[in-house]
Protein backbone atom coordinates (compact mmCIF):
# COMPACT_ATOMS: atom_id res chain seq x y z
CA UNK A 1 0.00 0.00 0.00
CA UNK A 2 1.35 3.37 -1.03
CA UNK A 3 1.40 5.88 1.85
CA UNK A 4 0.28 8.73 -0.43
CA UNK A 5 1.25 12.35 -0.09
CA UNK A 6 3.24 13.29 2.99
CA UNK A 7 2.97 17.09 3.13
CA UNK A 8 4.61 17.31 6.54
CA UNK A 9 7.66 15.34 5.45
CA UNK A 10 8.21 17.32 2.28
CA UNK A 11 7.62 20.67 4.01
CA UNK A 12 10.11 19.93 6.78
CA UNK A 13 12.64 18.56 4.31
CA UNK A 14 12.38 21.72 2.19
CA UNK A 15 12.95 23.91 5.24
CA UNK A 16 15.90 21.78 6.34
CA UNK A 17 17.40 22.10 2.87
CA UNK A 18 17.22 25.87 3.37
CA UNK A 19 19.51 25.44 6.36
CA UNK A 20 17.09 25.38 9.29
CA UNK A 21 17.55 22.90 12.14
CA UNK A 22 15.03 20.06 12.26
CA UNK A 23 13.31 21.32 15.44
CA UNK A 24 12.70 24.80 14.02
CA UNK A 25 11.40 23.34 10.75
CA UNK A 26 8.94 21.20 12.68
CA UNK A 27 7.88 24.17 14.82
CA UNK A 28 7.17 26.19 11.69
CA UNK A 29 5.10 23.32 10.29
CA UNK A 30 3.03 22.66 13.37
CA UNK A 31 0.68 25.68 13.43
CA UNK A 32 -0.19 25.24 9.75
CA UNK A 33 -2.46 22.16 9.94
CA UNK A 34 -3.89 23.37 13.25
CA UNK A 35 -4.90 26.73 11.81
CA UNK A 36 -6.22 25.03 8.70
CA UNK A 37 -8.32 22.66 10.78
CA UNK A 38 -9.71 25.51 12.91
CA UNK A 39 -10.70 27.42 9.79
CA UNK A 40 -12.04 24.25 8.23
CA UNK A 41 -14.16 23.41 11.27
CA UNK A 42 -15.57 26.95 11.43
CA UNK A 43 -16.33 26.91 7.71
CA UNK A 44 -17.98 23.54 8.23
CA UNK A 45 -20.23 25.10 10.84
CA UNK A 46 -21.19 27.96 8.53
CA UNK A 47 -22.06 25.49 5.78
CA UNK A 48 -24.00 23.33 8.25
CA UNK A 49 -26.13 26.21 9.53
CA UNK A 50 -26.86 27.20 5.94
CA UNK A 51 -27.75 23.60 5.08
CA UNK A 52 -29.89 23.34 8.19
CA UNK A 53 -31.95 26.31 7.06
CA UNK A 54 -32.17 25.31 3.42
CA UNK A 55 -33.01 21.66 4.07
CA UNK A 56 -35.50 22.57 6.78
CA UNK A 57 -37.11 24.97 4.34
CA UNK A 58 -37.25 22.31 1.63
CA UNK A 59 -38.79 19.78 4.01
CA UNK A 60 -41.49 22.33 4.83
CA UNK A 61 -41.93 23.55 1.23
CA UNK A 62 -40.45 26.93 1.98
CA UNK A 63 -37.59 28.70 0.22
CA UNK A 64 -35.36 29.55 3.17
CA UNK A 65 -32.73 32.30 3.11
CA UNK A 66 -32.70 33.68 -0.39
CA UNK A 67 -31.62 37.30 -0.70
CA UNK A 68 -28.47 37.26 1.48
CA UNK A 69 -25.95 36.44 -1.21
CA UNK A 70 -26.53 33.76 -3.85
CA UNK A 71 -29.04 31.23 -2.44
CA UNK A 72 -28.73 32.93 0.95
CA UNK A 73 -25.17 31.68 1.36
CA UNK A 74 -24.23 34.74 3.39
CA UNK A 75 -26.94 34.11 6.01
CA UNK A 76 -24.59 32.30 8.43
CA UNK A 77 -22.00 35.08 8.01
CA UNK A 78 -24.66 37.65 8.86
CA UNK A 79 -25.60 35.53 11.90
CA UNK A 80 -22.02 35.41 13.09
CA UNK A 81 -21.47 39.14 12.59
CA UNK A 82 -24.65 39.89 14.50
CA UNK A 83 -23.54 37.75 17.43
CA UNK A 84 -20.09 39.36 17.48
CA UNK A 85 -21.50 42.87 17.67
CA UNK A 86 -24.22 42.15 20.23
CA UNK A 87 -23.96 43.35 23.79
CA UNK A 88 -22.45 40.77 26.11
CA UNK A 89 -24.82 40.72 29.08
CA UNK A 90 -23.88 39.10 32.37
CA UNK A 91 -27.02 38.72 34.47
CA UNK A 92 -27.21 40.23 37.95
CA UNK A 93 -26.23 38.00 40.90
CA UNK A 94 -24.71 35.44 38.57
CA UNK A 95 -21.31 33.92 39.06
CA UNK A 96 -19.30 35.96 36.60
CA UNK A 97 -16.29 33.65 36.37
CA UNK A 98 -18.24 30.44 35.93
CA UNK A 99 -20.63 32.21 33.56
CA UNK A 100 -17.70 33.11 31.28
CA UNK A 101 -15.91 29.83 31.75
CA UNK A 102 -18.95 27.69 30.82
CA UNK A 103 -19.05 28.27 27.06
CA UNK A 104 -15.24 28.15 26.86
CA UNK A 105 -15.12 24.73 28.49
CA UNK A 106 -17.83 23.53 26.13
CA UNK A 107 -16.12 24.77 22.98
CA UNK A 108 -12.46 23.96 23.50
CA UNK A 109 -12.67 20.13 23.85
CA UNK A 110 -14.80 19.89 20.73
CA UNK A 111 -12.26 21.83 18.68
CA UNK A 112 -9.49 19.78 20.29
CA UNK A 113 -11.19 16.60 19.09
CA UNK A 114 -10.50 17.69 15.51
CA UNK A 115 -6.91 16.67 16.23
CA UNK A 116 -7.75 13.09 15.39
CA UNK A 117 -10.03 13.53 12.38
CA UNK A 118 -8.19 12.15 9.35
CA UNK A 119 -8.83 13.27 5.79
CA UNK A 120 -6.19 11.03 4.27
CA UNK A 121 -3.29 8.78 5.09
CA UNK A 122 -1.14 11.73 6.19
CA UNK A 123 -3.79 14.43 6.20
CA UNK A 124 -4.36 14.55 9.95
CA UNK A 125 -2.95 16.85 12.61
CA UNK A 126 -1.57 14.03 14.72
CA UNK A 127 -2.00 10.30 14.47
CA UNK A 128 -2.53 9.75 18.19
CA UNK A 129 -2.32 6.09 19.14
CA UNK A 130 -5.31 6.51 21.44
CA UNK A 131 -7.24 8.75 19.03
CA UNK A 132 -10.79 7.52 19.55
CA UNK A 133 -10.27 7.26 23.29
CA UNK A 134 -9.06 10.86 23.28
CA UNK A 135 -12.26 11.92 21.54
CA UNK A 136 -14.50 10.08 24.01
CA UNK A 137 -12.69 11.49 27.01
CA UNK A 138 -12.70 15.02 25.56
CA UNK A 139 -16.40 14.82 24.85
CA UNK A 140 -17.09 14.11 28.51
CA UNK A 141 -15.60 17.48 29.49
CA UNK A 142 -18.43 19.33 27.76
CA UNK A 143 -21.14 18.46 30.34
CA UNK A 144 -19.03 20.16 33.03
CA UNK A 145 -19.17 23.36 31.01
CA UNK A 146 -22.92 22.95 30.50
CA UNK A 147 -23.47 22.44 34.23
CA UNK A 148 -21.32 25.49 34.95
CA UNK A 149 -23.27 27.61 32.51
CA UNK A 150 -26.59 26.42 33.91
CA UNK A 151 -25.57 26.92 37.52
CA UNK A 152 -23.87 30.29 37.06
CA UNK A 153 -26.80 31.85 35.20
CA UNK A 154 -28.83 32.37 38.39
CA UNK A 155 -31.93 31.18 36.53
CA UNK A 156 -34.06 28.12 37.24
CA UNK A 157 -34.56 27.29 33.58
CA UNK A 158 -30.85 27.49 32.92
CA UNK A 159 -30.12 25.28 35.91
CA UNK A 160 -32.69 22.68 34.83
CA UNK A 161 -31.35 22.78 31.28
CA UNK A 162 -27.80 22.36 32.50
CA UNK A 163 -28.75 19.42 34.70
CA UNK A 164 -30.63 17.77 31.86
CA UNK A 165 -27.75 18.32 29.47
CA UNK A 166 -25.31 16.77 31.92
CA UNK A 167 -27.57 13.78 32.59
CA UNK A 168 -28.08 13.25 28.89
CA UNK A 169 -24.42 13.55 27.94
CA UNK A 170 -23.29 11.22 30.69
CA UNK A 171 -25.86 8.52 30.01
CA UNK A 172 -25.34 8.49 26.24
CA UNK A 173 -21.58 8.43 26.54
CA UNK A 174 -21.71 4.77 27.62
CA UNK A 175 -23.55 3.32 24.60
CA UNK A 176 -21.41 5.57 22.41
CA UNK A 177 -18.23 4.19 23.92
CA UNK A 178 -19.55 0.61 23.67
CA UNK A 179 -20.36 0.94 19.97
CA UNK A 180 -16.97 2.51 19.32
CA UNK A 181 -15.32 -0.25 21.32
CA UNK A 182 -16.73 -2.89 18.97
CA UNK A 183 -15.15 -1.10 16.01
CA UNK A 184 -11.89 -0.70 17.90
CA UNK A 185 -11.89 -4.41 18.67
CA UNK A 186 -12.23 -5.24 14.99
CA UNK A 187 -9.42 -2.95 13.90
CA UNK A 188 -7.11 -3.73 16.83
CA UNK A 189 -6.31 -0.07 17.23
CA UNK A 190 -7.63 3.15 18.75
CA UNK A 191 -6.00 5.26 16.06
CA UNK A 192 -8.44 6.72 13.54
CA UNK A 193 -5.95 6.16 10.72
CA UNK A 194 -5.67 2.46 11.52
CA UNK A 195 -9.45 2.15 11.72
CA UNK A 196 -9.83 3.56 8.22
CA UNK A 197 -6.89 1.52 6.91
CA UNK A 198 -8.50 -1.65 8.17
CA UNK A 199 -11.69 -0.83 6.24
CA UNK A 200 -9.97 0.04 2.96
CA UNK A 201 -9.05 -2.25 0.14
CA UNK A 202 -12.47 -3.62 -0.75
CA UNK A 203 -14.24 -0.35 -1.53
CA UNK A 204 -17.75 0.02 -0.18
CA UNK A 205 -17.91 -3.68 0.78
CA UNK A 206 -15.11 -3.33 3.31
CA UNK A 207 -16.74 -0.58 5.33
CA UNK A 208 -17.57 -1.27 8.96
CA UNK A 209 -21.24 -0.47 8.41
CA UNK A 210 -21.75 -4.00 7.04
CA UNK A 211 -20.01 -5.62 9.99
CA UNK A 212 -21.61 -3.41 12.62
CA UNK A 213 -25.27 -3.10 11.57
CA UNK A 214 -26.38 -2.59 15.18
CA UNK A 215 -23.30 -0.64 16.19
CA UNK A 216 -23.72 2.17 13.69
CA UNK A 217 -27.35 2.74 14.70
CA UNK A 218 -26.37 2.90 18.37
CA UNK A 219 -23.49 5.22 17.54
CA UNK A 220 -25.66 7.58 15.52
CA UNK A 221 -28.43 7.74 18.12
CA UNK A 222 -25.92 8.31 20.90
CA UNK A 223 -24.05 10.90 18.85
CA UNK A 224 -27.26 12.81 18.15
CA UNK A 225 -28.02 12.76 21.87
CA UNK A 226 -24.51 13.94 22.68
CA UNK A 227 -24.92 16.85 20.25
CA UNK A 228 -28.38 17.63 21.71
CA UNK A 229 -29.79 17.35 18.22
CA UNK A 230 -33.45 17.44 17.54
CA UNK A 231 -35.17 14.35 18.87
CA UNK A 232 -32.97 14.72 21.96
CA UNK A 233 -32.86 18.49 22.30
CA UNK A 234 -34.60 18.57 25.66
CA UNK A 235 -31.85 20.52 27.47
CA UNK A 236 -32.99 23.48 25.41
CA UNK A 237 -36.62 22.50 24.89
CA UNK A 238 -38.03 25.95 24.32
CA UNK A 239 -41.59 25.06 25.33
CA UNK A 240 -40.50 24.05 28.82
CA UNK A 241 -37.12 25.60 29.53
CA UNK A 242 -36.99 28.75 27.35
CA UNK A 243 -33.54 27.88 25.98
CA UNK A 244 -32.10 25.69 28.73
CA UNK A 245 -28.61 26.58 29.85
CA UNK A 246 -28.37 29.16 27.02
CA UNK A 247 -31.24 31.25 28.40
CA UNK A 248 -29.15 33.99 29.99
CA UNK A 249 -26.46 34.07 27.33
CA UNK A 250 -26.14 36.69 24.63
CA UNK A 251 -23.57 37.98 22.22
CA UNK A 252 -20.45 35.97 21.62
CA UNK A 253 -20.91 33.73 24.67
CA UNK A 254 -24.15 32.50 23.18
CA UNK A 255 -22.31 32.35 19.87
CA UNK A 256 -19.83 29.93 21.40
CA UNK A 257 -22.64 27.60 22.51
CA UNK A 258 -24.22 27.84 19.07
CA UNK A 259 -20.88 27.20 17.42
CA UNK A 260 -20.09 24.28 19.70
CA UNK A 261 -23.38 22.52 19.00
CA UNK A 262 -22.78 22.63 15.26
CA UNK A 263 -19.07 21.86 15.47
CA UNK A 264 -20.01 18.87 17.58
CA UNK A 265 -22.54 17.74 14.99
CA UNK A 266 -19.99 17.99 12.19
CA UNK A 267 -17.41 16.22 14.34
CA UNK A 268 -19.80 13.39 15.10
CA UNK A 269 -20.65 13.09 11.42
CA UNK A 270 -16.95 13.04 10.50
CA UNK A 271 -16.21 10.38 13.10
CA UNK A 272 -19.20 8.33 11.95
CA UNK A 273 -17.72 8.51 8.46
CA UNK A 274 -14.34 7.43 9.83
CA UNK A 275 -15.64 4.63 12.01
CA UNK A 276 -18.33 3.14 9.81
CA UNK A 277 -18.14 4.58 6.29
CA UNK A 278 -14.49 4.02 5.53
CA UNK A 279 -13.26 7.59 6.12
CA UNK A 280 -11.45 8.88 3.05
CA UNK A 281 -12.00 5.60 1.20
CA UNK A 282 -13.63 5.81 -2.23
CA UNK A 283 -16.60 3.39 -2.69
CA UNK A 284 -14.60 1.63 -5.43
CA UNK A 285 -10.99 0.74 -4.55
CA UNK A 286 -8.92 3.45 -6.20
CA UNK A 287 -5.83 1.41 -7.03
CA UNK A 288 -8.11 -1.09 -8.74
CA UNK A 289 -9.36 1.71 -10.98
CA UNK A 290 -5.82 2.95 -11.57
CA UNK A 291 -4.67 -0.52 -12.56
CA UNK A 292 -7.66 -0.79 -14.89
CA UNK A 293 -6.69 2.41 -16.69
CA UNK A 294 -3.04 1.43 -16.50
CA UNK A 295 -1.65 4.16 -14.25
CA UNK A 296 1.21 3.32 -11.94
CA UNK A 297 0.52 3.41 -8.21
CA UNK A 298 3.48 5.72 -7.67
CA UNK A 299 2.68 8.42 -10.23
CA UNK A 300 2.54 11.79 -8.48
CA UNK A 301 -0.67 13.06 -10.09
CA UNK A 302 -2.50 9.93 -9.00
CA UNK A 303 -1.42 10.67 -5.45
CA UNK A 304 -2.71 14.25 -5.72
CA UNK A 305 -6.03 12.95 -7.10
CA UNK A 306 -6.11 10.34 -4.35
CA UNK A 307 -5.54 12.92 -1.61
CA UNK A 308 -8.09 15.43 -2.89
CA UNK A 309 -10.61 12.66 -3.53
CA UNK A 310 -10.03 11.48 0.04
CA UNK A 311 -10.82 14.92 1.46
CA UNK A 312 -13.88 15.21 -0.76
CA UNK A 313 -15.11 11.74 0.22
CA UNK A 314 -14.70 12.37 3.96
CA UNK A 315 -16.51 15.70 3.77
CA UNK A 316 -19.17 14.25 1.50
CA UNK A 317 -19.90 11.36 3.84
CA UNK A 318 -19.97 13.68 6.84
CA UNK A 319 -22.41 16.04 5.14
CA UNK A 320 -24.59 13.15 4.10
CA UNK A 321 -24.92 12.34 7.79
CA UNK A 322 -25.59 15.97 8.63
CA UNK A 323 -28.35 15.88 6.04
CA UNK A 324 -29.76 12.78 7.71
CA UNK A 325 -29.67 14.53 11.08
CA UNK A 326 -31.56 17.52 9.70
CA UNK A 327 -34.14 15.25 8.09
CA UNK A 328 -34.54 13.41 11.40
CA UNK A 329 -35.10 16.75 13.09
CA UNK A 330 -38.27 17.32 11.06
CA UNK A 331 -39.42 13.70 11.30
CA UNK A 332 -39.11 12.67 14.92
CA UNK A 333 -40.80 14.52 17.78
CA UNK A 334 -38.82 15.39 20.89
CA UNK A 335 -38.65 12.61 23.50
CA UNK A 336 -39.47 13.19 27.14
CA UNK A 337 -36.70 13.08 29.72
CA UNK A 338 -37.86 9.68 31.06
CA UNK A 339 -38.11 8.29 27.52
CA UNK A 340 -34.64 9.62 26.83
CA UNK A 341 -33.13 7.91 29.85
CA UNK A 342 -35.12 4.73 29.15
CA UNK A 343 -33.79 4.63 25.61
CA UNK A 344 -30.25 5.22 26.81
CA UNK A 345 -30.07 2.85 29.75
CA UNK A 346 -32.65 0.17 28.94
CA UNK A 347 -32.21 -0.14 25.19
CA UNK A 348 -28.95 1.26 23.84
CA UNK A 349 -26.79 0.03 26.72
CA UNK A 350 -27.87 -3.67 26.65
CA UNK A 351 -27.96 -3.74 22.85
CA UNK A 352 -24.53 -2.11 22.78
CA UNK A 353 -23.20 -4.70 25.21
CA UNK A 354 -24.71 -7.56 23.20
CA UNK A 355 -23.23 -6.06 20.06
CA UNK A 356 -19.82 -5.91 21.70
CA UNK A 357 -20.02 -9.52 22.86
CA UNK A 358 -21.26 -10.66 19.44
CA UNK A 359 -18.41 -8.83 17.74
CA UNK A 360 -15.94 -10.48 20.10
CA UNK A 361 -17.43 -13.92 19.37
CA UNK A 362 -17.38 -13.30 15.62
CA UNK A 363 -13.81 -12.09 15.86
CA UNK A 364 -12.82 -15.38 17.48
CA UNK A 365 -14.75 -17.53 14.99
CA UNK A 366 -14.08 -15.60 11.74
CA UNK A 367 -10.76 -13.86 12.30
CA UNK A 368 -10.48 -13.18 8.55
CA UNK A 369 -13.58 -11.02 8.28
CA UNK A 370 -13.52 -9.46 11.73
CA UNK A 371 -9.88 -8.50 12.00
CA UNK A 372 -8.59 -11.29 14.25
Amino acid sequence: MNPGIDLQGTFIETLMDLGLPAGVAKAIWMPLPMGLMLIGATMGVLVTTWLERKISAAAQQRIGPDFMGPFGLLAPVADGLKLVFKEDVVPAKSDRILFTLGPIIVVIPIFLSYLIVPFGQNLVITDVGTGIFLWISLSSIAPIGLLMAGYASNNKYALLGGLRAAAQSISYEIPLALSVLAVVMMSNSLSTIDIVEQQSGYGILGWNIWRQPAGFVIFWIAALAECERMPFDLPEAEEELVAGYQTEYSGMKFGLFYLSSYVNLVLSALLFAVLYLGGWDFPIPLNLLANLVGVSDDSSWLQVVDASLGIIMTVFKAYFLVFLAILLRWTVPRVRIDQLLDLGWKFLLPVGLANLLLTAALKLTFPVAFGG
Binding site: A58, A59, Q60, Q61, D66, L327, L328, W330, T331, V332
Partner: protein, 197 residues
Protein backbone atom coordinates in the same frame (compact mmCIF):
# COMPACT_ATOMS: atom_id res chain seq x y z
CA UNK B 1 -39.35 -19.38 33.18
CA UNK B 2 -36.72 -19.22 30.39
CA UNK B 3 -39.58 -19.41 27.86
CA UNK B 4 -41.20 -16.39 29.42
CA UNK B 5 -37.92 -14.52 29.28
CA UNK B 6 -37.43 -15.42 25.62
CA UNK B 7 -40.93 -14.23 24.83
CA UNK B 8 -40.17 -10.94 26.55
CA UNK B 9 -37.01 -10.56 24.50
CA UNK B 10 -38.76 -11.35 21.23
CA UNK B 11 -41.62 -8.97 22.04
CA UNK B 12 -39.12 -6.26 22.80
CA UNK B 13 -37.28 -6.94 19.56
CA UNK B 14 -40.55 -6.83 17.63
CA UNK B 15 -41.45 -3.49 19.16
CA UNK B 16 -38.02 -2.13 18.33
CA UNK B 17 -38.32 -3.22 14.70
CA UNK B 18 -41.76 -1.68 14.50
CA UNK B 19 -40.54 1.62 15.97
CA UNK B 20 -37.66 1.65 13.50
CA UNK B 21 -40.09 1.03 10.64
CA UNK B 22 -42.33 3.88 11.74
CA UNK B 23 -39.36 6.24 11.92
CA UNK B 24 -38.38 5.07 8.44
CA UNK B 25 -41.86 5.83 7.16
CA UNK B 26 -41.72 9.27 8.74
CA UNK B 27 -38.33 9.92 7.15
CA UNK B 28 -39.69 8.96 3.73
CA UNK B 29 -42.49 11.50 4.20
CA UNK B 30 -40.11 14.34 5.04
CA UNK B 31 -37.80 13.25 2.22
CA UNK B 32 -40.70 13.27 -0.23
CA UNK B 33 -41.65 16.79 0.80
CA UNK B 34 -38.22 18.02 -0.26
CA UNK B 35 -38.91 17.53 -3.96
CA UNK B 36 -42.14 19.52 -3.81
CA UNK B 37 -41.83 23.11 -4.96
CA UNK B 38 -42.33 25.80 -2.35
CA UNK B 39 -45.57 27.74 -2.70
CA UNK B 40 -43.97 30.80 -1.13
CA UNK B 41 -45.06 34.21 -2.40
CA UNK B 42 -42.03 36.43 -1.83
CA UNK B 43 -44.06 39.34 -0.65
CA UNK B 44 -42.61 42.70 -1.53
CA UNK B 45 -41.46 41.39 -4.90
CA UNK B 46 -44.35 39.06 -5.61
CA UNK B 47 -47.96 39.64 -4.57
CA UNK B 48 -51.14 37.66 -4.91
CA UNK B 49 -53.84 39.33 -7.00
CA UNK B 50 -56.71 40.02 -4.59
CA UNK B 51 -60.02 38.49 -5.59
CA UNK B 52 -62.91 40.60 -6.92
CA UNK B 53 -64.70 40.47 -3.56
CA UNK B 54 -61.59 41.39 -1.58
CA UNK B 55 -62.41 43.75 1.30
CA UNK B 56 -59.44 46.07 1.61
CA UNK B 57 -59.02 49.69 2.63
CA UNK B 58 -62.17 51.72 2.02
CA UNK B 59 -62.30 54.36 -0.72
CA UNK B 60 -64.45 57.43 -0.23
CA UNK B 61 -65.74 59.94 -2.79
CA UNK B 62 -66.22 63.24 -1.04
CA UNK B 63 -68.51 64.86 -3.63
CA UNK B 64 -71.01 62.00 -3.68
CA UNK B 65 -71.56 61.97 0.07
CA UNK B 66 -74.87 63.38 1.35
CA UNK B 67 -73.87 63.22 5.05
CA UNK B 68 -76.73 60.85 5.84
CA UNK B 69 -74.63 59.00 8.45
CA UNK B 70 -75.97 55.58 7.42
CA UNK B 71 -72.39 54.34 7.40
CA UNK B 72 -72.07 55.33 11.05
CA UNK B 73 -75.30 53.60 12.01
CA UNK B 74 -74.52 50.29 10.29
CA UNK B 75 -70.94 50.23 11.53
CA UNK B 76 -70.54 47.77 14.41
CA UNK B 77 -68.57 50.36 16.34
CA UNK B 78 -69.87 53.61 14.79
CA UNK B 79 -66.45 54.25 13.38
CA UNK B 80 -66.77 56.74 10.46
CA UNK B 81 -66.58 60.34 11.59
CA UNK B 82 -68.92 62.55 9.54
CA UNK B 83 -68.39 66.23 10.21
CA UNK B 84 -71.17 68.27 8.51
CA UNK B 85 -73.11 71.46 9.07
CA UNK B 86 -76.44 72.66 7.78
CA UNK B 87 -76.01 75.15 4.95
CA UNK B 88 -78.92 77.58 5.27
CA UNK B 89 -78.52 79.06 1.81
CA UNK B 90 -78.96 75.76 -0.07
CA UNK B 91 -80.99 74.13 2.74
CA UNK B 92 -78.71 71.09 2.52
CA UNK B 93 -76.17 69.38 4.73
CA UNK B 94 -72.67 70.44 3.81
CA UNK B 95 -69.90 67.88 4.48
CA UNK B 96 -66.75 69.36 6.00
CA UNK B 97 -64.66 66.32 6.92
CA UNK B 98 -64.99 62.56 6.74
CA UNK B 99 -62.57 60.06 8.25
CA UNK B 100 -62.25 56.36 9.06
CA UNK B 101 -59.63 54.97 11.44
CA UNK B 102 -58.28 51.77 9.85
CA UNK B 103 -56.52 50.85 13.03
CA UNK B 104 -59.99 50.15 14.46
CA UNK B 105 -61.96 49.19 11.32
CA UNK B 106 -62.71 45.47 10.96
CA UNK B 107 -63.30 45.67 7.20
CA UNK B 108 -66.78 44.13 7.48
CA UNK B 109 -68.01 46.22 4.57
CA UNK B 110 -71.36 47.19 6.10
CA UNK B 111 -70.82 50.89 5.34
CA UNK B 112 -70.04 50.08 1.71
CA UNK B 113 -73.12 47.87 1.51
CA UNK B 114 -75.55 50.45 2.91
CA UNK B 115 -74.22 53.71 1.46
CA UNK B 116 -77.21 55.12 -0.51
CA UNK B 117 -75.07 57.07 -2.96
CA UNK B 118 -72.31 54.50 -3.39
CA UNK B 119 -69.68 56.95 -2.28
CA UNK B 120 -67.93 54.23 -0.26
CA UNK B 121 -66.22 51.30 -1.95
CA UNK B 122 -63.68 48.60 -1.18
CA UNK B 123 -60.16 48.69 -2.64
CA UNK B 124 -57.54 45.98 -2.97
CA UNK B 125 -55.13 47.68 -0.60
CA UNK B 126 -54.20 45.60 2.42
CA UNK B 127 -50.66 46.63 3.39
CA UNK B 128 -51.47 49.49 5.70
CA UNK B 129 -48.62 49.26 8.22
CA UNK B 130 -47.30 52.53 9.66
CA UNK B 131 -44.90 53.59 12.35
CA UNK B 132 -47.61 55.48 14.25
CA UNK B 133 -51.13 54.18 14.79
CA UNK B 134 -52.57 57.68 14.29
CA UNK B 135 -51.40 57.58 10.70
CA UNK B 136 -54.04 54.89 10.15
CA UNK B 137 -56.77 57.46 10.76
CA UNK B 138 -57.51 58.32 7.12
CA UNK B 139 -59.18 61.65 6.38
CA UNK B 140 -61.27 62.32 3.29
CA UNK B 141 -58.18 63.14 1.20
CA UNK B 142 -56.39 59.94 2.13
CA UNK B 143 -59.61 57.98 1.68
CA UNK B 144 -59.96 59.40 -1.82
CA UNK B 145 -56.63 58.01 -3.01
CA UNK B 146 -56.65 54.88 -5.12
CA UNK B 147 -54.11 52.17 -4.38
CA UNK B 148 -51.55 50.90 -6.85
CA UNK B 149 -52.91 47.87 -8.63
CA UNK B 150 -50.73 44.80 -8.12
CA UNK B 151 -50.98 43.95 -11.80
CA UNK B 152 -49.82 47.41 -12.90
CA UNK B 153 -46.93 47.85 -10.48
CA UNK B 154 -43.66 47.37 -12.39
CA UNK B 155 -41.88 46.39 -9.15
CA UNK B 156 -44.25 43.52 -8.42
CA UNK B 157 -44.75 40.14 -10.03
CA UNK B 158 -48.49 39.48 -9.70
CA UNK B 159 -49.43 35.91 -8.83
CA UNK B 160 -52.86 34.34 -9.11
CA UNK B 161 -54.60 32.81 -6.15
CA UNK B 162 -55.33 29.09 -6.16
CA UNK B 163 -58.95 29.34 -7.42
CA UNK B 164 -57.87 31.52 -10.35
CA UNK B 165 -55.47 28.91 -11.71
CA UNK B 166 -56.24 26.60 -14.64
CA UNK B 167 -57.53 23.16 -13.86
CA UNK B 168 -54.88 20.91 -12.29
CA UNK B 169 -52.32 23.72 -11.90
CA UNK B 170 -51.13 24.33 -8.34
CA UNK B 171 -48.28 26.72 -9.03
CA UNK B 172 -48.87 30.37 -9.98
CA UNK B 173 -45.21 31.04 -10.87
CA UNK B 174 -44.48 31.30 -14.59
CA UNK B 175 -48.10 30.96 -15.67
CA UNK B 176 -48.86 32.55 -19.09
CA UNK B 177 -51.02 35.66 -18.67
CA UNK B 178 -53.73 34.35 -20.99
CA UNK B 179 -54.12 31.06 -19.13
CA UNK B 180 -57.77 30.69 -18.18
CA UNK B 181 -59.00 29.70 -14.76
CA UNK B 182 -60.92 26.45 -14.31
CA UNK B 183 -64.61 26.44 -15.24
CA UNK B 184 -66.65 28.58 -17.62
CA UNK B 185 -67.95 32.15 -17.56
CA UNK B 186 -71.73 32.63 -17.04
CA UNK B 187 -72.09 33.80 -20.66
CA UNK B 188 -70.41 30.69 -21.89
CA UNK B 189 -72.70 28.47 -19.85
CA UNK B 190 -75.70 30.35 -21.27
CA UNK B 191 -74.29 29.92 -24.78
CA UNK B 192 -73.80 26.22 -24.18
CA UNK B 193 -77.38 25.83 -22.93
CA UNK B 194 -78.67 27.73 -25.96
CA UNK B 195 -76.66 25.50 -28.29
CA UNK B 196 -78.17 22.41 -26.68
CA UNK B 197 -81.69 23.53 -27.57
Amino acid sequence: MPLKFLKQVSDYAKETVQAARYIGQGLSVTFDHMRRRPITVQYPYEKLIPSERFRGRIHFEFDKCISCEVCVRVCPINLPVVDWEFDKASKKKKLNHYSIDFGVCIFCGNCVEFCPTNCLSMTEEYDLSTYDRHELNFDNVALGRLPYKVTEDPMVTPLRELVYLPKGVMEPHGLPTDARRAGMLPEEIAQQEANKK
